[in-house]
């Protein structure tokens, strides 16, 4: 006659309770959702686990947008999103080469030939820049 002693599990102290459950081998049906609570109650925790690795920093994206606006001579009130394609802004392949050269100068990086052909949107440019800056920092 095994009675499930779930009532004996104390919710006040989460961590010790979970450990004691594991050592006892009692599989309590309680699942501790730690992800939710860490966001709420521990704002100082670095959320590096939750960062999406393909996203670039906003200031990098903004710099890219400024350079694209200047190169293509767009007015200041045209809104550029990270997903804007260069071709939809009226840039042909020559403009794209110029934009990539400007980005190389601005961020002091060196884009090789294959990568430069694949840049079609603002987000792709920002991601590539971040990757190259990181590689450069690691090599230094």
């Amino acid at each position: 006659m095994a009675t499930v002693s779930a009532a004996s599990v104390r919710f006040a102290s989460l961590k010790p309770a979970s450990r004691s459950n594991q050592t006892n081998g009692v599989t309590s049906g309680v699942k501790f959702v730690t992800i939710g609570t860490s966001k709420l109650s521990f704002p100082s925790l670095r959320s590096s686990r939750f960062r999406v690795h393909c996203a670039a920093k906003p200031e990098t994206v903004n710099k890219v947008i400024d350079i694209v606006k200047k190169q293509l001579a767009l007015s200041d009130d045209t809104s550029l999103t990270p997903e804007s394609k260069f071709s939809s802004l009226g840039a042909d392949s020559l403009d794209t080469v110029e934009i990539v050269m400007c980005l190389e100068e601005e961020f002091d990086i060196s884009v090789d030939e294959d990568n430069s052909q694949n840049i079609t949107t603002v987000q792709e440019a920002a991601d590539l820049i971040e990757k190259l800056v990181l590689q450069k920092a690691e090599a230094a």
Binding site: D92, S93, L94, V97, E98, V100, M101, E113, Q117
Partner: protein, 106 residues
Amino acid sequence: MAVASVPLRAEVLSLLRSLLKTARKFGDYNIREYARRRAVDGFRENKELLDPSAIAAAFAEGTSQLEVAKRQASVYTLYAPSAKSVMEIIIIHFGNTGRVVMIATA
């Protein structure tokens, strides 16, 4: 005389990149800016060419200009001027916004 082959799109863009990279190496502001401008204008001017022999001829001319630029970039480093051009000082100070800056001199 060997028949020049029609360059691929990627080769043309690669030539432009090489020209712009070589232009960066010039120490003199005027020459550097001219090289950039001329490269971009030259490519834009010939953008609509359809005749394969004309395209090949333009590409060959671009390649020879690239050789000239590379040679001159290394020659100019031997005779680098000690002072910067005033335009460069203005751009470094005020930024390259493309707007005209009025400077008052006493």
